[in-house]
């Protein structure tokens, strides 16, 4: 039975490509597209002062890699147009009394006109700009104090920061291991669900049922090939992640492999369950998408589980992807092993066992 499925799957050349190419493509696209590091923010300037001081401030702004000055404006209307079209994320307006206020020892205002449509990005832009401004402000303060005859005053508290596991806070390092998890789940769940339903839909299921195959043998025959294929996919994607995206793999490969296998119990179990609930391939694919979407969104891959409302956090304990994301981040980035990750493995094992038992029982009852 196993052999038949294997042959059937591998004989179709197009299917072969389908099995191994999409996961890689998805990894590449997700790896490059998903990027929370924001740099080269497009900024336009409406400098109504055009003094040495205003230019000095603008130099500070452009000297960082965060901001790109793309336009010098002459009027408010131009500013409005650029923002409406989404050409720039922020327009800086320096009033005509900027230099005068500074020289007098008063407070000069700098207006930031921000495009708020992407509120996450807007907050980041505000944060970066405030950082630049506060650095510059500190220097100006020192100047003023010096001119008053006071010596150099230090900031009372300074921060010495160190980042563990991901020193440069590279977004990709956080994301690629998770994408590996997601892609493995996608492939294994969909393929398993479809493998069974396809026979049902085309009508070859009855033929299988008349053979002397026992239900368990049928299930194994249908699922084991895809478990193996998913394992190969997982390894392919891991290799791509490590060598193409240069994500470090600090922990043990065997710990990772064990995690993948336990995770596959879950996704294959889910796929099997879906197959017992679907009559057609379209149903299976829709159900798969319907389950995968919240699974990915509530896994901690993009949005931290800790930020979710309490009830939702409890709900994620039923999501196998949640445990797997913690596992991959732990193995790839933290370099920890079973001594730290065992709760996740226990969770995966328990969930997987439950899912498989339920789906196998359902499967048997449907056939028998």
């Amino acid at each position: 039975m196993l052999v038949k499925e294997f042959i059937q799957v591998l004989r179709d050349k197009r299917l072969r490509i389908l099995l191994f190419l999409p996961p890689l493509i998805q990894l590449i696209i997700y790896g490059y597209a998903v990027n929370f590091d924001i740099s080269h923010i497009r900024v336009a300037v409406l400098d109504q002062d055009r003094s040495a001081q205003s230019r000095q401030l603008l130099n500070r702004v452009t000297s960082t890699r965060y901001f790109d000055l793309v336009a010098w404006l002459d009027s408010e209307d131009e500013a409005r147009r650029l923002l409406d079209l989404g050409e720039v994320a922020m327009v800086l307006r320096l009033p005509s009394d900027f230099a005068r206020k500074l020289k007098q020892g008063d407070t000069a205002g700098v207006q930031m006109l921000l495009d708020g449509t992407d509120s996450n990005q807007t907050l980041v832009v505000m944060r970066y700009f405030n950082q630049v401004l506060s650095d510059y402000t500190q220097d100006l303060m020192q100047d003023r104090l010096n001119r008053m005859g006071l010596k150099h005053l230090e900031m009372p508290v300074g921060i010495e920061q160190r980042v563990w596991y991901n020193p440069n806070l590279t977004g990709r390092w956080s994301f690629v291991p998770g994408v590996i998890a997601m892609v493995v789940m996608l492939v294994s769940l969909m393929l398993t669900a479809l493998a069974v339903v396809r026979e049902k839909e085309i009508g070859t299921m009855e033929q299988l049922l008349v053979t002397p195959l026992r239900p368990l043998e049928l299930i194994l025959g249908k699922t084991v090939p895809f478990v193996l294929i998913s394992l190969i996919d997982a390894m392919l994607v891991t290799v791509a992640g490590v060598f193409w995206f240069e994500v470090p793999l600090r922990g043990s490969i065997w710990v990772l492999l064990l995690g993948v296998v336990l995770f596959l119990f879950n996704s294959v179990g889910l796929g099997l369950l879906i197959s017992t609930l679907s009559r057609t391939q379209q149903q299976a694919m829709t159900a798969g998408t319907f389950i995968l979407t919240p699974a990915v969104l509530l896994s901690g891959l993009i949005f931290p589980i800790a930020n979710m409302p309490e009830p939702v956090q409890w709900f994620t304990y039923l999501n196998p992807l949640r445990y797997f994301i913690i596992t991959v981040r732990g193995v790839f980035l933290k370099g920890v092993g079973l001594e730290v990750l065992w709760p996740e493995y226990v969770g995966l094992g328990a969930l997987g066992l439950t899912l498989l038992t339920v789906s196998v029982l359902r499967f048997k009852s449907r056939i028998g």
Binding site: G158, M285, L297
Partner: protein, 377 residues
């Protein structure tokens, strides 16, 4: 073109859909689920981040600083440790996210106008959250510094020392910076893509796989009638889904619609047609349903999610991906929805995107029709 014949195909497709109510229900529930998730559960705002404190000083100043830190809802006083290793272990285990260390001379430095160096060790496994945490800690320190500096200057008899520059931020289009304001229009794009492309991509392939395609070809049906009849039901489903999404956005989440409803509906219908056409093209090109599904996932859903500007800024991506995004119809629809919903713009500024969408629709329909002819021959 005979309307009754097209209507017959339409009804047959409707029957197919009706026989499979579960798929339909799920497709309609998907926007509801997504909106609920994005509206209530998914956020980057941190809260109660478990923080470990390694206080080697214990002075009144140190306590004052820590009170500042834990006075906000962002940080939780998770554990106090006597040596760093204990805190480090908690980072490894994932029990805590950050270890804040106060040096032995913290109080002394603060009192004598020196500088106290606070060490902050962060868990960087989730880079984005680490950045947010760092930002908040910097803000607390900044605030604390300002208070102390003002005190120090007062002690010197300087009561009037203004801060040289003050930023005046003005946020346009989404003043409250509500992330849901931005998510709801974006989700409409995703939903239309799913209904338009995912569902239709299966419609023709299914016939071919089941063997009923020959029957259709042998019938006196014209190409245009088949296409119209097949796409019709999905168009209706798509518009219903859009209405649900817009309704939820308006009444449940109170996302303000600044522009014209009519324009929004018209543009949504346009984009839906583009997606239906693309789904149809995929349906003709694929050999079986699995292929059709994978193809539509890769060429419509994924780009709509990642390369359209919905979640991630396209300009921040490598140029290769940015280039690809120019041929992704979803990108132009995102421009349209954001423009109409949040900025209240009209066709006078948005016409390029609309024109491009029309072009895409025509292109896909033409290609689909050509492929259909090839199959018949």
């Amino acid at each position: 073109m005979s309307p009754p014949r097209a209507w017959a195909v339409f009804r047959k497709e409707l029957l197919h859909i009706r026989r499979d109510p579960s798929s339909l229900v799920q497709i309609i529930l998907m926007p509801v689920m997504l909106l609920l998730l994005y509206g209530y559960a998914l956020t980057f705002d941190i809260k109660q981040v478990p923080t470990v404190v390694w206080d080697r000083d214990g002075s009144a100043e140190a306590r004052q600083f820590l009170n500042r830190l834990f006075g906000s809802p962002y940080f939780q006083d998770f554990a106090r440790v006597g040596e760093f290793e204990a805190g480090g272990r908690m980072l490894d285990q994932g029990a805590a996210r950050v270890v804040v260390g106060l040096p032995q001379d913290f109080g002394r430095q603060v009192k004598t106008e020196g500088q106290a160096k606070v060490s902050v060790v962060l868990d960087g496994a989730d880079a984005n959250t680490a950045n947010v945490i760092l930002g908040y800690i910097q803000a607390v320190v900044s605030d604390y510094n300002l208070t102390l500096m003002t005190e120090r200057l007062h002690q010197k008899g300087l009561t009037r020392l203004n801060t040289p520059i003050s930023p005046e931020p003005r946020v346009w289009y989404n003043e409250e910076l509500e992330s849901r304001n931005f998510i709801v229009p974006g989700l409409i794009v995703v939903i239309m893509t799913m209904v338009g492309a995912l569902l239709t991509s299966l419609s023709v392939v299914r016939e071919r796989e089941r063997g009923s395609m020959e029957g259709l070809i042998a019938s006196p049906l014209k190409k245009s009638e088949l296409i119209l009849g097949k796409l019709g039901p999905y168009f209706i489903i798509g518009m219903v889904d859009m209405a649900i999404a817009m309704g939820m956005g308006q009444f449940l989440f109170e996302v303000p619609m600044r522009g014209s409803w009519l324009l929004m509906i018209a543009m949504s219908a346009l984009y839906l047609m583009v997606m239906l056409a693309q789904g149809l093209l995929i349906s003709f090109a694929a050999q079986n349903q699995l292929q059709a599904n994978q193809l539509s996932m890769l060429s419509t859903f994924l780009p709509a999610l990642l390369l359209s500007g919905f979640m991630f800024d396209v300009r921040q991506m490598p140029w290769a991906l940015e280039l690809i995004s120019y041929v992704v119809p979803a990108r132009y629809f995102v421009t349209l929805t954001k423009g109409i919903y949040l900025k209240g713009l009209g066709l006078d500024l948005l016409w390029p995107s609309a024109v491009l969408l029309v072009g895409f629709a025509l292109l896909f329909l033409l290609l689909a029709a050509r492929r259909f002819s090839k199959k018949v021959r």
